[in-house]
Assembly symmetry: D2
């Protein structure tokens, strides 16, 4: 094998952490300013204001100082009280993993669960809400990363809005690569992070909250206060005339500042198009080799992750290890229930360039051939190129 | 005034966040590697192992992915159960602020409290432990930063050890600048962070835990699991053959890696001496101008922060603002109970160079003169220089 | 002594290389792009265009890929032929050092020379031009850094223009800190570099050339071609539709790009004011201590360098060494004829902040006291502060 | 087309400037220290000493502060006097381009010239030296980058050594990727630069000089002194007790320092193997598609550049432009006589990873197919992968 396990990879096709853009690395490596100095208070305010047109939340997006799981845990335990009835829409590993947070304060949890290669049917949500008019909160994961599938958050959002329940949407790994914002899906709590498409390292959560969701949190006696889990403590922290509850992650804020600027310089639509084409090139390549996409319907496939079914009889770990040690390429395995069932080729942020899919597709197909599973690598490479050409 | 509030400061004499060393900024701006890649798993393990001889904890130090308050909250709610009796040793603002975390699980809290310009008397601790042999946990803050005072954690540690209680020590802003480690003070939980003397930005906690403290946490049914607050989830995360509970802050780990290397290159003892001399130069300068140190006894003064009493009748905020906007220098105010009573000249990390105290001392004295309080600035400057010369 | 000779200095009060601004360091550390790629060709063109309003030359400023001496040597040997009569205006070390370059092609060199603490008298230039109407080229150094003196390039420029000679002005270490551009002084060749006030490291020359100077160079058979010394080869290199004669210094161009942006963000006038006040604070401090400025008249003093006469009987090298090793401060010695006669406190770029002069002035005065020369350090410190306050 | 001409490329397969390693970018972005400060003087000395075991020159390698052409021009005009007879061994564009520098001082130039897809025959050199025993200097280019061919510098070196002539070897773009040093080829002047395999940006030359070559230069009245072209001025500049003739490029030295450390950490042999395998993967891929390598014999092919013959009737510029704008990949054209005849896939430094050749090979073949020239892209991709697997 060419590479030692301790050699850094040549290319990183993972679902995150992903490699950072150069601009973000410079942001991270910027001078550290005292958090209560007016110059930093203004920086923090400016970064929040720059997030707003991307998050499109009713109120100023809140930045929490821990990676996206903090946003999820914090929002769940702050919003949901003991009297709530929560409908959790489970089409994958992450959505299922929310349950303990949703239930921590004693709420009743109802679940719609579909196989993890499928997505949530809006009609099923409508039915559930009719069946249980006492449902107060609906929770969904936009892109359940361990499955590479995208749920129809906008259609479901309209149904939830009609019913009147609070709508919690986690869009960590779709945000920035496709339309995904609080306004378009009518989310009361819109959760994301800068560590996927924006190209930052993991360390921050971004939460867009509606006015009524703030009111619910403030009325919730079980909502954490004086804790790292308290989103309420941070509600107004974006204002340069307010103090931070504790020291924010200055370097990560500088990195986020640079990441948003970079994103905006490229332009939201160009970034979307770049991710869409890269994903399509990957899928076409994978399919042309004779492999199967994990999502039941290709329309469910994410612009940031291509999940590929592991063929019968192939050793998941060995294939990934050989791709890593022979070619220097990193792809992600599945996670929990999808572990051993799929591989995930991540293509978000700096690696989301169509031509990069050539190495990912060919290395995968070629390695499978070596393991006795027949892939038409030539067809895969041709499909990648043809997809790019057709753009 | 020369500077706009949005201009970055010329020099940062704050108590944290402080400016980062250049090496740390480069570390922060390094390539981001997928956290589950073997190369990063090994980096994480190596960083943990490099921390160990500094933290000197019985077991491998745990890195938590939020600034030092996460370490404090997490350790408190993990270690302390509902049956515990906790002796909180309060000589300052931070120690008092721990109380809600110490009490969250329902433990009884006993307090020894001294004025915030004084420090904890070991004899009082001995007496308290005799009076209440049922005390199970003793908590102390080594350097209560809002007061600039250093508690005798080693002497108290011997007393606590004899009694058998668990000993929790927060040494966030002394660690690295003087002897402060789990071994020398016999701490069961030794809390610190890389964002003070080591020169990293705020974003990580470091926690050294004894074997018996781990056992107590594991037996504690109220200890968080599956939460950002769970230190137990991260206990073995340093091992390259284990998975992370959630994505660690890759950039901050890279920054910490660089920070430890830099610290070790300079050498623990040289770093201590540099901070000690800088602090002494600052104190001598302040005293020579006719100002009073905040600590009752200069022996209590920290190597990283010089707390100065605000003279009667002087406008705290205006003095700091003029120093900031006229000279570009940042000093810290007090905090909570010490707000308005003292100023803090921070001298830790990259700014801990004796000559820097000239600007801090002269700017402070000179500004006070302009506010009608007589300072002998010339004597202050001379004292700074004489202190350096005497080294 | 506190510091080892191999420890980096705490503050750098030198006349260059000076410390870089953070933004420039990020520029230098940016991704390297192939020089002939259109994206870099456009970067190069854009940087040239951004230089133009600062240099104000008739034609697009040329960037040469070696520090400022390359610009000087290259311009001299390209412009001056064997038939030229060159008037070299020598008020300092650097101007005298040009002579071999001015004379290399066989031209006759005439010199006006004044003591190195004085500056060139425009009347003397007028007289010389009347006496020798065959003078074809006049050469002057705006800020002769080894002397810290500023020549009246604009007044002399008007005289030279009337006479019709070519006017060559070196403004390397004044450019950016005060009005100094090709237009205001009517220079035919205006030489500077980004490694002083702009805060770049040494590696580039910037040359603004008039149309008629280009014509003269092109007609000069002795002008280098196909050589690193050839400015003619680089004349049109700024155009994105032209090729580079050899690989430009990509990283330094990126650094320059960032440096100009930073300069423009702060604003030309604010940068000038900052340097002027810093210089004034330094001079007032030095004088108040009883030391003498080197320039005969303080009006000659540069905004970027304060030259101080070394008092009789003081050991130049030992004083500088003690300032360096005891306090970590770097000041520059004299150079050639001024070596041993003066010290130079550099205050350009990132260190040009008035409060920084406190350390420079006090450390100098205090060290002199230790060497038996009486300085009123208290008065020096007070004068620095009073100067800042008066702003 | 996907990309704008001003978008940065996705991957850079050029022959230099190439992309820098991350470590080098951090080196470039390091703090700038005054060049005459002892800490920088020691850095400079240390960098020189670290270069020595790589360059293996008799005396300490000299760093000149301009990209490799400065080393070439400077060495030529310093070494060669008017009485010399120079044998220039021309197998490519670069060697031919040396001629004006070799001839500048009036020496007689003799040339052995072979077609630019061939290399120099040692026997022809032996014959030339027999025919003209008065030849005093022999000049060769190890890797004539515009042709991608490697000359047998060691065998020729033995012949030249026997004859006694001075031997000048330019190894800019082979150094570091294969055995290429002053000792193994018995060079009197060994020229290279850090901007190819070491991964620095262009800005420095490295010159290893034998004792007798220094003696010849010092005796040469035409050797430049007091000029950027003077290598003699810089001979002892590496010594920390000597002054620099002018300001060295501090940032580039910091970058070089980091580059050597990185190279040594990976290990000379591992770097060689990585470049060799990458080159082989590229060649096998190119050949398998039915394209022809430019070198007459594949044994001549460089480890850093694969030169490919442009098939008849194909539009050189359009093919490269489409590869650039459709796929984001940069490959180099020919240069001068080879322009329009070949393409060059550069694989040096950070991009020299075998898997990267997949994109280069497939994009080239695929684009040629679109231009009507039949390439077997599938065979090309398979050959790249098979070559890596066989390693």
């Amino acid at each position: 094998m060419r590479y030692e396990p301790t050699d850094q990879p040549v290319m990183t096709f993972t679902t995150g952490p992903v490699e950072s853009y150069h601009e973000v690395m410079h942001g991270l490596g910027s001078r550290i300013v005292y958090d209560f100095d007016m110059s930093f208070l203004k920086t923090y305010e400016r970064v929040s204001e720059k997030l707003r047109p991307l998050v499109k939340s009713e109120t100023m997006p809140v930045i929490l100082h821990g990676e996206a799981v903090l946003g999820l845990e914090s929002a769940a335990v702050s919003l949901i009280g003991s009297d709530d009835v929560v409908l959790n829409l489970v089409s994958g590993v992450y959505a299922k993993a929310y349950e303990p947070w949703l239930a921590r304060n004693g709420a009743e949890i109802i679940e719609i669960r579909v196989p993890y290669d499928d997505i949530i049917d809006p009609a099923a949500v409508a039915k559930a809400l009719r069946d249980r008019p006492d449902i107060t909160v609906v929770v969904i994961c936009h892109h359940d990363t361990p499955c590479g599938t995208i749920n129809p958050i906008e259609e479901i959002g309209r149904i939830v809005a009609e019913h009147g329940a609070f709508y919690v949407v986690d869009a960590a790994s779709s945000f920035g690569a496709m339309q995904a914002d609080a306004e378009s899906c009518k989310a009361d709590v819109f959760l994301t992070g800068p560590h996927k498409v924006l190209g930052c390292p993991p360390a921050l959560s971004i939460v867009g909250v509606s006015e009524r969701a703030w009111a619910k949190m403030e009325a919730n006696l079980l909502a954490p206060r004086g804790s790292i889990l308290s989103i309420l403590d941070w509600r107004d922290a974006w204002r340069s005339d307010r103090l931070f509850p504790f020291s924010p992650s200055v370097a990560e804020i500088n990195g986020l500042d640079a990441a948003i600027d970079r994103h905006n310089r490229e332009g939201n639509e160009r970034v979307h198009a770049r991710h869409a084409l890269t994903a399509k090139a990957c899928r076409e390549g994978v399919k042309a080799m004779g492999l199967k996409l994990w999502p039941l319907d290709e329309k469910f496939a994410a612009p940031t992750v291509t999940a590929v079914r592991i063929p019968e009889g192939v050793d998941d770990a060995r294939v990934r290890q050989e791709i890593r040690l022979r070619y220097g390429l990193l792809i992600s395995p599945g996670r929990s229930e999808t572990m051993g069932k799929l591989w995930r080729i991540g293509h978000m942020g700096i690696v989301a360039q169509p031509i990069n899919m050539l190495a990912a597709v060919v290395a995968l197909g070629h390695t499978l051939n070596a393991h006795g599973y027949r892939c038409d690598v030539a067809a895969g490479a041709a499909a990648v190129m043809a997809t790019i050409d057709a753009d």
